[in-house]
């Protein structure tokens, strides 16, 4: 049987191999880390219909106002545990968003405080407005659901 001629790999061959390996590694890491989690995004819905979507950092420029079903609420940037929305820049705390004021009768949305991680939400039942954080980095100790 006739032997194949000996081929000497060139530098281009090595480059192709490295590119394939890097691409595979990148794909695997992307999937292992949760795939399409993406940047942290606030999603606002009214009566179950999405009405707004923004990066929480946009609230540093100005709070956002939402009105529905006869009630109005204001959403602003905040840090967990701090009252002022703009005091957090040098605090080193966990930045997020909160409902700073609402004219709804229950005030549950205001009492909810600051949300900072994907999966958390603020609900104003009288206005039927839900503000939910999606994406972001998933902490290893994150819970799937909250009781209470």
């Amino acid at each position: 049987m006739r032997a194949f001629p000996k081929l000497r790999p060139t530098a281009w061959d090595g480059l192709v191999v490295l590119c394939v390996a890097a691409l595979a590694l990148g794909t695997a890491l992307f999937q292992w880390r949760g795939g399409s989690s993406g940047a942290l995004t606030a999603v606002v819905s009214v009566d179950g219909e999405e009405t707004d979507r923004f990066a929480p950092a946009e609230l540093l420029e100005a709070p956002r106002i939402y009105s529905a079903n006869g009630y109005t609420l204001e959403v602003c940037a905040a840090v967990r545990g701090e009252a002022s929305p703009l005091d957090h820049r040098n605090s080193g705390g966990e930045a997020g968003i909160r409902v700073s004021r609402s004219d709804c009768p229950t005030q549950d949305c205001v009492h909810t405080g600051t949300i900072t991680r994907g999966g958390q939400s603020i609900v104003c039942l009288p206005a039927r407005i839900v503000i939910r954080l999606e994406g972001g980095t998933v902490a290893p100790d994150a819970v799937d659901a909250v009781l209470g």
């Binding site: 691409l23 039942l125 100790d141 799937d144």
Partner: protein, 373 residues
């Protein structure tokens, strides 16, 4: 060099293979639903996850139309407006009223006829929060008696084979009474959702009906669902937990005085009204979590049971709650019908032994952990 190239390409193939998501069990649908006076999040997995999630929403909307106090032609609204006369009701309402009667007989502290008192405090929705006078409370307490609620099934008495006929179910309240199924309806919805998920061959789902959680199957990585119990002392922090439960195929419901409240004259008044006093329960408990199996049980309505008992046991207080837990046994499984996590106002977390290996205390909470048997 050729061997090295072969190894690198093999590694690349393996990594790319691991990263794929060809498993249909990992397909996911997540929808948010505002219903039953709360916000719900339904997350289903599997090839039929979208159909399953929207079928769950249909179940919730259907039940809300029957159980709501604010929907004009709901079964509950018609019962409350009937002045004690018998009213035709759906099979769902008939079933839930019977389950409510069972819970009321078993446990003090749960009573669906508390509705007029809850309204007087402003906790029925729509009214302003206020502290009623003692005279007003005493007058309304005379209307609180779930024993006066009666349900009739003509077909059951006359023809058991035709039990599914909804037209033959009726119920009546006592004169002046009104009912509110808010403390039990979400649990009933969870029970029905289990059947929907089974019908759609859903391998796993995470159903959160406003704090009533159904952990169905396990997580996509094969581990139990991680369900946090809100720390009542840090209720305004969403990442603050008393502890975390590891749950598979389970219902879990929490009741606590920190969830809905108002303050007047420097005092806090919460929404769980003690049927014995007519005032917010003051039992020394900050929250009660009831956990029960979703499948391996003799009774097919553990979701409803968890919902009702979380309220009842909050009213009872620690000692009576644990006594009640010991008395409730699943005769088939020969074990307690449910398990408990009690957060006390004096800084303890009391866990019943069946949850000891499924509960992890959040060390940052500062609570001390006690396991009871």
């Amino acid at each position: 060099m050729k061997r090295l190239t072969a190894y690198v390409l093999l590694l690349a193939l393996l990594l790319a293979g691991c990263g794929g998501s060809a498993d249909p069990d990992t397909a996911q649908e997540s929808i948010q639903v505002i219903a039953m006076d709360t916000a719900m999040l339904i997350t289903t997995y599997g090839e039929r996850s979208p159909a399953a999630a929207y079928a769950c929403e249909d179940v919730i909307r259907d039940l809300e139309a029957k159980f709501s106090r604010t929907v004009e032609d709901s079964d509950v609204s018609r019962l409350n407006a009937a002045g004690g006369e018998a009213v035709a009701i759906s099979l769902d309402t008939f079933t839930l009223l019977n389950q409510a009667q069972h819970c009321w007989r078993a446990a003090q502290g749960f009573d669906i006829t508390i509705a007029p008192l809850a309204a007087a405090w402003g906790f029925a929705g729509g009214e302003e929060y206020r502290v009623p006078s003692r005279e007003e409370i005493d007058a309304l307490l005379t209307l609180v008696d779930q024993g006066a609620v009666s349900c009739t099934s003509k077909t059951r008495e006359e023809d058991p084979a035709d039990y599914e006929d909804e037209a033959s179910y009726t119920a009546a309240l006592g004169p002046g009474q009104a009912i509110d199924l808010g403390g039990i309806a979400k649990g009933y919805a969870a029970d029905k959702i289990v059947k929907v998920l089974q019908e759609h061959d859903v391998p796993r789902a995470n159903i959160n009906l406003g704090g009533n959680v159904l952990a169905y199957g396990d997580r996509p990585d094969g581990t139990p669902w991680r369900v946090g119990i809100q720390d009542p002392a840090r209720a305004d922090e969403q990442n603050a937990f008393a502890g975390v439960l590891a749950l598979t195929d389970s219902f879990a419901v929490t009741s606590g005085g920190y969830q809905r409240y108002f303050e007047e004259g420097g005092k806090r008044y919460h929404h769980i009204i003690d049927p014995a006093t007519g005032c917010p329960a003051d039992s020394g408990l900050a929250s009660v979590t009831v956990v029960a199996d979703a499948f391996k049980t003799q009774q097919p309505w553990n979701g409803t049971m968890c919902d009702a008992y979380s309220t009842a046991l909050f009213v009872m207080g620690e000692e009576k709650a644990l006594e009640f837990w010991r008395s409730c046994r699943d005769l088939v499984a020969e074990e307690p019908l449910f398990q408990l996590v009690l957060v006390t106002e004096d800084g303890r977390v009391v866990v019943t032994e069946g949850l000891a290996d499924r509960f992890a205390l959040d060390e940052s909470s500062g609570y001390t952990l006690e396991v009871v048997s």
